[in-house]
């Protein structure tokens, strides 16, 4: 019973802290670019404001358009419940393995793309088509990285994978190195950050994710934005906890949990700084360069898989 409460607490923390992580990335980015940063709580205020506003619907919006925000938020929430944030061995980790996690994201994206096309504006369709192009290329790369992890740990369950990496201690594994790099590239593409997409832009010709949700307003928009922030946080936690799992609680004792909170805060802060630095240094690439970028991710994933088979077995 206690462990279920802990799992629930972890998922709630995940959902509540996701806007803070997005705010942190934005804050660091502003500091790096010599601008005055918004307060860290700004994403919460934005969400609060959006929840208070009326949701406007276009005349030819179908029922699909109205339920998609809930599907997207629900799928992302389920995904967040699966990822170990503070402790391993929680019952929620057994809901789904890492392949189903990819499936949750795919489900959310599929419905978002449908909603983008539903109203029939030019931008929505364009955004949907671009998003699907990118995700069709990113998903194989993601799965190759996931398969590499699964082969290293002999399991696709995230909790087991993390425990395996923890029990190995500090081992220089070429496969995990390449899987990490592939995962970082995929995370950038999937969460729509620079250099693939610019989360801050509303310039018509370059936007991808923003183009799809252009028709949304009010609480629908708030849910979708929250889901996007949650997705960013999920990828951050995946990278931080799978490849650098030190500090995560293996037993549900208060001390271990406190250590885990401190560790994940430190890891996510560093990741946020890295992401913001990357976004400040790089320029957004042309849409037609994105396949090459994701081909690189695919190659990295593949070399990781091969190096596990060739170098690490026996």
């Amino acid at each position: 019973m206690k462990i279920w409460a802990l799992a629930l607490l972890q998922s709630t923390a995940f959902v509540l802290l996701a806007p803070l992580f997005a705010g942190w990335v934005k804050w660091v980015k502003c500091r790096l670019q010599n601008r005055r940063p918004p307060p860290l709580a700004q994403p919460y205020r934005d969400l609060w404001k959006l929840f208070g506003k009326e949701a406007l619907l276009s005349h030819n919006a179908s029922i699909l358009f109205r339920i998609v925000p809930y599907i997207v938020a629900g799928a992302t929430l389920l995904a967040a419940a699966v990822v170990p944030l503070l402790a391993v061995n929680l019952p929620t980790a057994a809901i789904a393995d890492v392949i189903v996690l990819t499936g949750f994201f795919a489900l959310a994206r599929f419905f978002l793309a449908l909603a983008g096309m539903d109203v029939g504006t030019a931008f929505g369709g364009m955004g949907s088509s671009r998003e699907m192009t990118i995700s069709a290329l990113a998903e194989p790369a993601m799965l190759l990285a996931v398969f590499t992890l699964a082969m290293v740990a002999a399991s696709t369950n995230l909790s087991t994978v993390i425990e395996q990496v923890l029990s190995d201690g500090l081992v220089l594994r070429p496969s995990l190195l390449f899987a990490l790099l592939a995962m970082c590239l995929v995370a950038v593409a999937e969460t729509g950050r620079i250099p693939v997409d610019n989360p801050a832009t509303h310039l018509e010709l370059t936007m991808i994710h923003e183009a799809m949700i252009l028709e949304y307003s009010g609480r629908h928009l708030a849910l979708i934005e929250w889901a996007a922030q949650l997705k960013l946080m999920i990828y951050g936690v995946l990278i931080a906890n799978i490849f650098f799992p030190w500090g995560i609680a293996t037993t549900p004792t208060p001390v271990a949990l406190l250590v885990a909170v401190a560790a994940i805060t430190a890891k996510l802060s560093i990741l946020g700084v890295l992401l913001a630095t990357g976004e400040s240094v790089l320029a957004k690439m042309r849409l037609f360069r994105v396949p090459a970028f994701l081909l690189l991710a695919l190659t990295l994933g593949f070399v990781g898989l091969l190096s596990h088979i060739i170098l690490e077995i026996r």
């Binding site: 220089l172 090459a292 190659t299 690490e312 026996r314």
Partner: protein
Amino acid sequence: MLAFLPLYQQAILSLAAMILFTSFVLLAQNGVLAIIHVFAWQGLLVAVTTAFVAFDSGAGHLYFSALMTITLKVIFIPWLLHRLVRRLGIDRETHSVERPARVLMSAAALVVFCYYVAQPIQQYSAALTRNTIAISMSVVMLGMLMLITRRKAVSQVIGFMSLENGLFFAAVSATHGMPMFVELGIAFDVLVAAVIFGVFFFHIRDSIDSLDVGQLNRLAERDE
């Protein structure tokens, strides 16, 4: 299994994987200068791996091989190619890869093939580096693939040199290096080859006004 090895032995395996990755990058890279730089990085990785293997096996002459690799393949040949490319005025040119996805897929297939070919060899070796034999064979194969898929002379030369990197790495990982005599001979061969290629670049360009080797087909005699 891997966790019981000392850290520098794990480093050898990681470096081997990185060498394989540079081969993939060479295959997919477009810019002329970028190809040369990646080639230099590959040489550096091979040299560092050789030094680690020397430390692991106690074969002192491998330090010398590593040093030779650095002077030749990390400094001299990239510098020579850099200068040639600038003098030919093609440093901003891009050698686009035709169908990069297909090239990379066939490269992956080649690596799997090499893995199966190298497996019987690996069974007779007890050295730590036995697993890297497949990697070095794949580097050779990927060099060949680069020779086949590229049309521009400079990239083909890089493909050839990277193939030689693979051979050297195979010698290091399978038998802790070749005899010094052979190694020196190969090093000078590569050196001379680099210089001769440089001369050839100018000749090819003089005769067909381009470094696109595909155009050499047009030199064939034809019944008009």
